[in-house]
Amino acid sequence: MSFDSFESSSHARKGWLARLHLDLPLLFGLLITAAVGLVVLYSASGRNMDMVTNQALRLAMAFAGMILVAQIKPQQLRLWTPWLYGLGVVLLIAVLLMGQIGKGAQRWLDLGVIRFQPAEILKLGLPMMLAWFLADSALPPRPWRMIAAVLLIVVPVALIAKQPDLGTALLVACAGFFALFLAGLRWRFMAWAVLLIVPVAALMWHYGMHDYQRQRVLTFLDPETDPLGAGYHIIQSMIAVGSGGIYGKGWLNGTQSHLDFLPERHTDFIFAVLSEEFGLIGAVILLVLYAFLIVRGLYIATQAQDTYTRLLAGTLTLTFFVYVFVNAGMVTGLLPVVGVPLPLVSYGGTAVVTLLTGFGMLMSIHTHRKLLAT
């Protein structure tokens, strides 16, 4: 516990940071990544300064939100957890009902002033809920608790998948799985789960998926079969990445992006713009930045002092990694096209707010520890 006492002394040294409950490595890592994102966005948007300013404002608000969240004590978060989760599920049901009235995909909830996707609440709400539920008893959890936890995952995931938003549903499910995994889910359960996935996937294919979703999967498996249709995105993205080479074509010089060959280039496919213009070196630097954030997040998790904060920090960090991996994997043709933005870099406000709120929780967890050693 001598390490903790070192931390506490560093608190005293970094006076204002400690009082603001900020974690310097995370803050720097996030700021640098966001800055890189704005630079790439300027190019990806076709030198649209309005878009860059807009995104910078959103980032600023999201950072402010992060600092705000960092002030909230973990115990307080824990207290709110079931309510937040419940609110998320209720809103999902509400959205679904409205969607049935409106006929068609419905993901947004319009509250007059703010429009937002209830699924975003669950991105944080589910990890919190699982941490709350699993921290209630000793780890690893007993089988009946595991089953209950799985139900906590399945309900919102099914609701999100029904919207239909398969990508977000999978990511939320992933977050749930990470919570179970970190809580000590037995290896043989995981083996069983893998065995179960095959029949479940087959059932999903036949009954649970829309045609366009099936097409996405097929196209992922062989993009060349549909080079001008659904495969176009993947092929053009791979061309963008591949033609970038080691050093890239240079900032603002990406032909794939600037000549419109690259679809969704300022949102989901912005990693292709970066890879085209800054090459392998630029792409690896960004991945290293992400890796740094993830390692720091995991470190915070291991330093957390109770099961709730530990599970929450670990799950949020691993989920962050999955966002990065799924997006980069999609852009490079490793994974199917699912609408997942690249954290902190893709254009868009909601994802950034959710993400930085999560990082605010990490900071809160790390800076509100009790000094046990004294």
Binding site: S137, A138, L139, P140, R142, F178, F181, L182, G184, Q236, M238, I239, A240, V241, G242, S243, G244, G245, I246, T255, Q256, L259, D260, F261, S275, G279, L280, A283, V284, L287, A291, I294, V295, L298, A301, T302, T307, R310, L311, G314, L318, F321, F325, A328, G329, T332, G333, L334
Partner: protein, 616 residues
């Protein structure tokens, strides 16, 4: 175990959690390495492939068609040129209300319903930023009207393209021909690279035979396009090289005068410079206007041309195959002198008919009472048939065939357009091969006066006359006078194409025949004396009348009693001046009657123009 349920073992839980985090970290590092490996594969291993694909995406090659070379006559008068033609085009993305725009345009410019239908069809197929043509070939008045109102029609523009134009219209169509849209068959034979962007190619005449010179070399533009195909900027331009200008031996004045001289007759006239083989005039009547063919002739116009009894599309000068009639006599006479079958002093008695030994059939002379005692000179001047029956008989068909073939009869002259026909020079072997029949002596007789199987084209007759005037010196008839590279004022003359000389003929023999032909035009009993009397230069010629209708034994040819379509063709060949020939002409007038009275005056007007008024 009980303890584990109720009490938390912080140490164990921390250890479990740390283990799981380490496992997750390992997975994460592996996944990151996998991503980096994938990036390495795409950006390093496959970099070249994707670079190429990226370039292919970005760079398009746009062909810049060359301007077609112009065609001039020997004096530099344009026979085919490229005129700007104005089209009305609409760029859909710049038009807010298409219907209103079309209505507004219709108020100032004549828009037919087929224009609108075609436009709407094309509109669906074309990208929004590509201009769609609405009307072709606006008149100058329409251009002016639109220009004044242009501000009212954003997105509507006038495009200028070059369109082939033939200033002389029907007067030069036979030598020049025309261009038309490239069709499926031509796509197979034309070089696809050089013709990318070219819409028209030569269909007939010089336009076709000199296509490779006239077309030029295509240019290219490398342009950068975006995913929608919109051209963003030009990366590199290789300008096209325009086709070469052609100067023809044709003299447009002769062309016009010959056409006018033929008048309402169906016929053909060909004039050649004997010293070079240069074709000075090549006329077939009735002619036709080539312009409608350039951008696709409409059905009605084409049908009218086809159903015209004068067959305007039929180029008689190159493709019309006629019995030469008496115009063949100088060549038969020359054969007789050259091969020793007769001599200048040899006389025969002409009773008005000729009979083969042991046969009762009478081969008539055109003059029923006969010419009495007559030699070669007078036989040509008066066109005595009996003399040539006898001469043909003593020459025999094989020697006639061999001698006439040296003047180019029975084969293509080698003129530098592609449409000519070879005519027909019969022989024993030919009849055996094509009809599986023996040759009869009677057929030799009528070949001697240019009847029977013998067929010649006007071009062949003119060319043979030129050869005769040059005493055997032969050149292939040639339309091309000179070529001119684009941007170059210097002309590169096309050299004459010499053919094997007609040798083995004594100078006296040439002289005798040419003297006789001079007599045809200039002596008191000459069949074409009407044009010789007041000519300021000396003309030599020969009249001819080709039977279309066989007259039965004992019947008389009565012109007035016969339907026009059965009346004889009139022919006339001539050259002048006799001493130093500069022009040789052949004319044929279908159903024109007698060559001396109808054909000779036409030839005289053309010769006058060339020898008296045209400066060479």
């Amino acid at each position: 175990m009980l303890r584990h349920i109720h009490l938390k073992d912080h140490f164990l839980e921390t250890r479990l959690f740390t283990t799981r985090v380490v496992v997750a970290l390992v997975f994460m590092v592996l996944a990151m390495l996998g991503l980096i490996g994938r990036l390495f594969y795409l950006q390093v291993v496959q970099h070249e492939l994707f670079s190429t694909e990226s370039e292919d995406n970005r760079v398009k090659i746009v062909a810049l068609p060359p301007n077609r070379g112009l065609i001039f006559d020997r004096n530099g008068v344009p026979l085919a040129d490229n005129l700007p033609s104005y089209h009305l085009e609409i760029t859909p993305e710049q038009v807010k209300d298409m219907d209103a725009t079309l209505r507004g345009l219709g108020a100032i410019i004549d828009l037919r319903s087929e224009d609108l239908d075609r436009f709407k069809k094309m509109l669906e197929r074309t990208r929004r930023f590509d201009a769609v043509p609405l009307r072709f070939h606006l008149s100058e008045e329409e251009v002016a009207k639109f220009s004044v109102n242009r501000y009212r029609f954003p997105g509507v523009d006038i495009a200028v393209r070059l369109s082939r134009h033939y200033p002389l219209g029907k007067y030069a169509v036979q030598p020049v021909g025309y261009v038309g849209r490239i069709d499926e068959n031509e796509l197979q034979t034309l070089d696809p690279a050089n013709y990318s962007g070219t819409t028209h190619s030569g269909k007939i005449g010089v336009e076709k035979s000199y296509e490779s010179l006239l077309h030029g070399t295509v240019g290219y533009q490398q342009v950068e396009i975006n995913a929608q195909g919109r051209v963003l900027r030009v990366l590199k331009t290789t300008p096209p090289v325009a086709g070469q200008n052609l100067y023809l031996n044709i003299d447009f004045r002769l062309q016009v005068i010959a056409e006018a001289a033929l008048g309402d007759y169906d016929g053909a006239m060909v004039a050649i410079d004997p010293n070079t083989g240069g074709v000075l005039a090549l006329v077939s009547t009735p002619g036709y206007d080539p312009e409608p063919f350039v951008n696709g002739i409409d059905r009605a116009t084409y049908k009218a041309l086809q159903s015209n009894p004068g067959k305007p599309l039929y180029n008689r000068a190159l493709r019309g195959q006629y019995p030469p009639g008496s115009t063949i006599k100088p060549f038969i006479g020359l054969a007789g002198l050259a091969l020793g079958a007769t001599d200048a002093d040899h006389h025969i008695f002409c009773p008005g008919y000729f009979q083969l030994p042991g046969v009762t059939h009478k081969y008539r002379d055109w003059r029923p009472q006969g010419h009495g005692s007559i030699g070669l000179r007078d036989a040509i001047i008066q066109s005595c048939d009996v003399y040539f029956y006898q001469l043909a008989l003593s020459l025999g068909i094989d020697r006639i065939h061999d001698f006439l073939s040296r003047f180019g009869f029975g084969s293509n002259t080698g003129i530098d357009v592609l449409e000519e026909k070879p005519g027909l020079l019969p022989s024993r072997e030919w009849k055996r091969r094509t009809r599986n029949q023996d040759w009869y002596p009677g057929e030799t007789l009528i070949t001697g006066i240019g009847q029977g199987y013998l067929l010649t084209t006007p071009l062949q007759l003119a060319s043979a006359t030129a050869t005769l005037s040059m005493r055997g010196q032969r050149y292939a008839p040639h339309l091309l006078y000179a070529t001119q590279k684009p941007g170059d004022s210097a002309l590169k003359l096309a050299p004459p194409v010499p053919l094997p000389k007609v040798d083995g003929v004594e100078p006296d023999a040439w002289q005798d025949v040419i003297d006789a032909m001079t007599g045809v035009v200039n002596s008191a009993r000459g069949t074409a004396r009407s044009i010789g009397a007041n000519a300021p230069y000396l003309i030599a010629g020969k009249t001819g009348t080709a039977q279309v209708f066989g007259i039965k034994q004992g019947e008389k040819y009565n012109k007035n009693a016969l339907d026009v379509s059965l009346q004889d063709h009139a022919l006339f060949i001539a050259f002048a001046p006799v001493e130093h020939p500069r022009i040789a002409v052949a004319v044929i007038i279908e159903h024109g009657g007698h060559g001396g009275s109808v054909g000779a005056p036409m030839v005289r007007t053309v010769m006058d123009q060339y020898l008296l008024y045209s400066t060479p």
